[in-house]
Symmetry: C2
Subunit: 471 residues, 2 copies
Amino acid sequence: MKKYEIIAEDIASAIQQGLLKRGDKLPSIREIQRSKLVNASTVFQAYYLLEARGLIVARPRSGYYVAGPLHHERLLPHSGIDSGTPTTLQVSDLVFNLLERIKDPQHIPFGSAFPSPLLFPLKKLADHMASAVRRMQPHETVQDIGQGDIGLRRQIALRYQLDGKATDINDIVVTNGALEALNLSLAAVTQPGDSVIIESPSFYAALQAIERMGLRAIEVPSHPAQGIDLVALERAIQQHQPKACWVMTNFQNPTGSLMSSAQKQALVALITRYQLPLIEDDVYRELYFGQQRPLPAKTWDQEGWVMHCSSFSKTLAPGYRVGWVSAGRFTEKITRLKISTTLATSIPAQLALANYLAKGAYDKHLRQLRHQLMLQQLQFSQAIHQYLPAAVRFTLPQGGYFLWLQLPEALDSLPLFQQAIAQRISLAPGHLFSSQQQYASYIRLNYGHAMNEAHVRAIEQLGQWMQVSRI
Amino acid sequence: MKKYEIIAEDIASAIQQGLLKRGDKLPSIREIQRSKLVNASTVFQAYYLLEARGLIVARPRSGYYVAGPLHHERLLPHSGIDSGTPTTLQVSDLVFNLLERIKDPQHIPFGSAFPSPLLFPLKKLADHMASAVRRMQPHETVQDIGQGDIGLRRQIALRYQLDGKATDINDIVVTNGALEALNLSLAAVTQPGDSVIIESPSFYAALQAIERMGLRAIEVPSHPAQGIDLVALERAIQQHQPKACWVMTNFQNPTGSLMSSAQKQALVALITRYQLPLIEDDVYRELYFGQQRPLPAKTWDQEGWVMHCSSFSKTLAPGYRVGWVSAGRFTEKITRLKISTTLATSIPAQLALANYLAKGAYDKHLRQLRHQLMLQQLQFSQAIHQYLPAAVRFTLPQGGYFLWLQLPEALDSLPLFQQAIAQRISLAPGHLFSSQQQYASYIRLNYGHAMNEAHVRAIEQLGQWMQVSRI
């Protein structure tokens, strides 16, 4: 056990034993630092862990308190609603227009979909790539078309094995990032006109894919803490005979929800009973802040109905465009789609990653990355507590790099977006995450960039606009 | 003018002046070698040039002759036929099954779609990649999403400029190989149920894309020497209101046909008149054997109806998966499709190629590559003359690395394929190149691998099977 874990455990048991009660103020960071002879970041981490578990809460300009009404006041309610009937989507224009305006690197990047590229070991990767590509044999440029480099697939299979899930490397198809994996998976099991279940709210790429392929969306509520509502899911399956279900099980985009293992198991049992292909979008799993890496739903997939899609883009190698799908019974179909659409994934990028993963530095890097994101979440949420109106509600996800905020009711996030982008502050308005307009008063904020003074000022500015808009 | 060009010019003018007549035997390689004090490969090249221009012909075990009836006997007739009505395709299973069996690297690779990977400067590319990726800045991993690295697009635009065609770098979208460029182009202008014009015969990726997207194919005859029949094309446009036309203008796959500049200009005028989007598949252009690099049809595109698709996979960097489309009026649509399907092309691969192209070694490499392919075509066609039955007909393309052969009529290439693959000799049966079965007695052979004794024996073996099958 690490120092911060020991400190956290001490406080947690004090709370559980009733020695510390709701509303009690905790010692300041400095006090603990002195009494335990540790440095400040250790105490931060301990408090962070306790906060992530919901045991304590930070009160702006005051300190940490044992969790009580204050914390729950800010918790998001169960927000998703049933869409009722399958819907033909027309969101792409809005999405593309907003994305186009969000991408300026000079802006404060709260609307970005990516974490800071400074978080990744790009120099080390460059070394691995240099050595891999210099060793590359000519025949390697044309073999392994379709499924991908066998060495990389072996490394990916080994990571599933860490979870205790034996995975056949022949079930893995390497793709041009997770996005291609998701699109190929959806294409493998649908025809134009079919209905597909997605979460509400959901990642806009799912909405775009459905629109592009001429499919219809059934939006099923997803809770900001626990993920997709399985009761509503089963009802939707029975009513609409969907051909696929696209779910983010770990640190959902945008809500940050984390399904429990029990819920994942129940999800797989449900879709297996209905023989409904499940597209599991799982790109943030490695970015967990808790003690244990959360498992994918795929872990419980006995019959091969789950297509587990992930990538290295958010965890190790942005821009390399290397992802994969562990595709179960759909592997051959997906391989063929890959061959006839993009043929193969860039071989040098595959070899570089296989090389890096084989050398074993990935887990060390991931520990640092998770720690950094956890601290950034803490700093970001403190600024939000401090500067955004008290009526703003949100949940602290246990991983990833997004916060999903509900603004005071009268507030539409699109005018706020316009106002902010004019001042070079980007944010992702809730309109991006549903076809139903029910998230007009939500925003997604990215805390994947190290907080600096300009970021804090930007949050303060957002808070002022929110106040003014309410008048 | 180079030595071999001078020798060729001398002989060409002797033929034009009537000093050498049809059927006259030319001096042997050795005789010229001695009289002109040059080495054998120079003479080979000279004779090759003359052969490519149709002025002379090689006669097995005998030598070179001024072209006469012998040469024309072997010329392919105008083979394509109108498909009549738009057709829903079901070729993919056949294609995938055959491709799966062709890909074993232990086989004699006559059926392969790729040239030998030994033809490319992979070591030099590796050096460029190493230096590019070490200089890569973190922000480069997330900028230029969609259209691609601006440095690479500039290099691509410069190559268009070599042809005298000014190209806006904002019209270029970098893709995961030409295959993605072609697929995105087709997706940008069609909806399921639409009709699309393709050549007959045509590259099987076009057939697969049409089948996968739920489109209907209109097959328009393509002449093995001159390419698509413009009269038949206009008739098909008038009859079927197609939404796109997919044509290979330079060294068509499988026939090797090369459209003249006049034909290309007429093609663009035609599709512009009908406002019909033209998908120009042009991956073999740099592999020309003549004096001049053939132009793309895009050169004459004033109104932006042509989507010119190409890549570096066949000319420089197999396995890097870097291609592009110069997309005219469809650029924004294609960029959006790229963003929502594969997001971006692998950045290290883009930077490596931009780096390589900027240093100016590309043209030198291309000269060597063309020379090598030209010699391989010569050796390959000599072996065919020698070992295949005289009834086998074919045309020598002026570039690329495929020969398209018509077998004696009674011969179906599928049993021949089965027989050959059992002996580890691959070939591409004509069935792959049309939905209409009219190429059952054709095969495509790849001469992109240096000829060795095993290759010659394999051709001899093919010849024996063809003889036996006829009995």
